[in-house]
Amino acid sequence: MFLFEKALEGSRRYQLWVAGLVAFIGVAFVVYLHQLRYGLGITGMSRNVSWGLYIGQFTFLVGIAASAVMVVIPYYLHNRREFGRMTILGESLAVAAVTMCLAFILIDMGSPTRALNVILYPQFHSIMFWDMVSLSGYLFLNAIITVNALHAEQQNLPLAGWLSPVIRLSIPWAISIHTVTAFLYCGLPGRMFWRTAVLAPRFLASAFAAGPALLILLCLLARKLTGYDVGKKAIDGLAVVVTYAMLANVFLLMMELFTAFYSHVPELTEHLKLMYLGQGGPTLLGVFGQVSLLLMFAALAPLLVPRLRRSERWLTIACAAVFTSLWMDKGVCLVVCGFSPSPLGAVTSYVPTLPEVTITLGVWAAGALMITVFYKIAIAVNAEEGAEHSPTYEPGGARGPVGSAAHASQAGVLSSPGQFPASGDGTSGRDRR
């Protein structure tokens, strides 16, 4: 496989981490085989809460995948070269997230051996069909872009011309994957919690907060572990995106709360009461709802103060809070709350079981493994390319293949292989200090 050999070598710490992930995925796979044999009855799902953690993770991760556009747009569309080193990481995060989505869909299926029926008997009136089309298309687009961008970087060549329309297509496509995912929910007549026109906009807002927050955390981690620095300008730029997106998300949530509680229509309020107040005492759902709400505001406080937002320590805390809050909100509460109360007014508690949590963590471990391998390859390619060429564009600072943070950041700004040749020239002079 392309460049895969670069993922096979690494430090002892790297090897241990990969081995640990593989071992955990193995355990989760065995548990999944048990689920296949026994049935989805081993999960906490039930007649009334018929989707749970799996579909919640799927929904959340579609957002993470879609949020790659938040680096693709400034880098490719607005030619903001400081996003150069981050873009490849964002795109490969999208590839990993979509793959996890597909895994969660398959795992949630009662009869996964029949999964191809979706293609054999396509139903154009089913949103799930279009979700499959948009997700697999997005995976395909991002896989092509990532592989070719890496290839270009390795050869220190500009991106092939035909890739430009592919990248441009991937931008509306990213918006579409999360819109279609929202349509899965908001098009259902009897589920009042989901049947709201702001569901798709809110999905996008929360995605564009949670995804870039995760990307910032991953970039900071990559720098700490490998010295690969995406640059302060990119981090700061993305932090602004997180801030605006989180504000939009909170605003849309307030719209939901106002509409429900001021109109005082029980159909609207009963779900929200369950989510934020519990039912006659604290429930797991109620606790999740409250903590999620609390973290939303806790994250906004440092994000809104420029001095704190630019401090890496505060930004790390804020990004962790954004990610956790939105994961709880969208990855758990959104799905469970839509089912409670049920159409017949039943409130059924849903608590994921140990096998269910293990399988879920197994898919997250697989995602972590994909990210590790993709980032390892991307960083190795960059280091190689940097080692060969760094003296030409930074005379005084040629250091090791993975140089200091400052060096790496410079290389990203100045070289920008993987930019299109025509669009790259105009602004490079401005960026050069």
């Binding site: 049935g39 949630d108 008997y121 069909f129």
Partner: protein, 258 residues
């Protein structure tokens, strides 16, 4: 050449058929017929429906004869865990079935009155709309919302879509909970969704649904609601009836006579 609105509708209808397949043709045809009274009469098509006479049903408190008959006829497993239960027809309290009913000052005994609920075989079934494989569909000839248990992938999207909670999923192997399987009806496998089929297998043989036949009070009336001379139409023409959640536009075909 001047095209009348009707001709235009027909032409665009033919175009739509090319795109969406033949199934939509009949519906379009009916719609055109309904819009233009002078045009062709809507094609007579059966739509099986049921009237539940709640007064008659209440005469036998605690009766579950219809449920038992259905369970026996359709190999419905007796799963003790409520979370994994399979239900085709079952009882719910009256105020749950009709969420707009006002019961706050009603006698406790009457408030607990149980009313049978089942799949509504909707005119516009949301479950059919969302199914990604066509494993559930509305049968053209008689309006029954059918299930293909061999095509269902168990995604449970239909369960999320059904506003009546009429669909059940096989969370565990149902065959382990069947005491005396009926050899004339298929059992289901792990991981598929199922629901009431209006006894399509009995109706096709000219018999009444099992629940209708089993009711000692004759509280369940089954017939073709599209036939103006049918018994169900006769009852509907002279009684006030309720349907569950008509405001959702699904067009349920189970009527409750109050």
């Amino acid at each position: 050449m001047k095209i009348t609105r009707k001709e235009f509708l027909k032409l665009s209808g033919a175009g739509l058929v090319l795109v969406f397949g033949g199934r939509e043709l009949a519906a379009l045809d009916r719609a055109a017929g309904a819009t233009f009274p002078g045009g062709a009469k809507p094609r007579p098509r059966k739509q099986w429906a049921m009237i539940v006479d709640t007064a008659k049903c209440a005469k036998e408190p605690g009766c579950t004869r219809c449920i038992e008959a259905c369970d026996a006829a359709h190999n419905i497993p007796a799963i003790p865990d409520k979370a994994h239960e399979i239900q085709w027809i079952w009882n719910e309290p009256a105020d749950v079935v009709f969420d707009e009913s006002d019961v706050q000052y009603l006698d406790a005994a009457r408030r607990d009155e149980q009313i049978p609920v089942l799949c509504n075989h909707c005119d516009q079934p949301p479950c059919v709309r969302v199914c990604p494989t066509g494993a559930t569909w509305k049968r053209e000839e008689d309006g029954i919302v059918m299930m293909d248990w061999h095509r269902c992938i168990g995604c449970r999207y239909c369960m999320a879509a059904c506003p009546y909670g009429a669909r059940s999923f096989n969370w565990v192997d149902p065959r382990a909970y069947l005491a005396n399987p009926n050899p004339d009806f298929p059992t289901r496998t792990l991981g598929v969704v199922e629901k009431c089929t209006f006894c399509s297998e009995r109706v096709v043989a000219g018999k009444l649904p099992a629940c209708v036949e089993a009711c000692p009070e004759k509280a369940l009336l089954f017939g073709d609601v599209n036939d103006p001379h049918s018994e169900v139409r006769e009852v509907l023409s002279e009684s006030y009836v309720l349907r569950r959640k008509p405001e959702l536009g699904t067009g349920p075909n189970i009527y409750y006579r109050i």
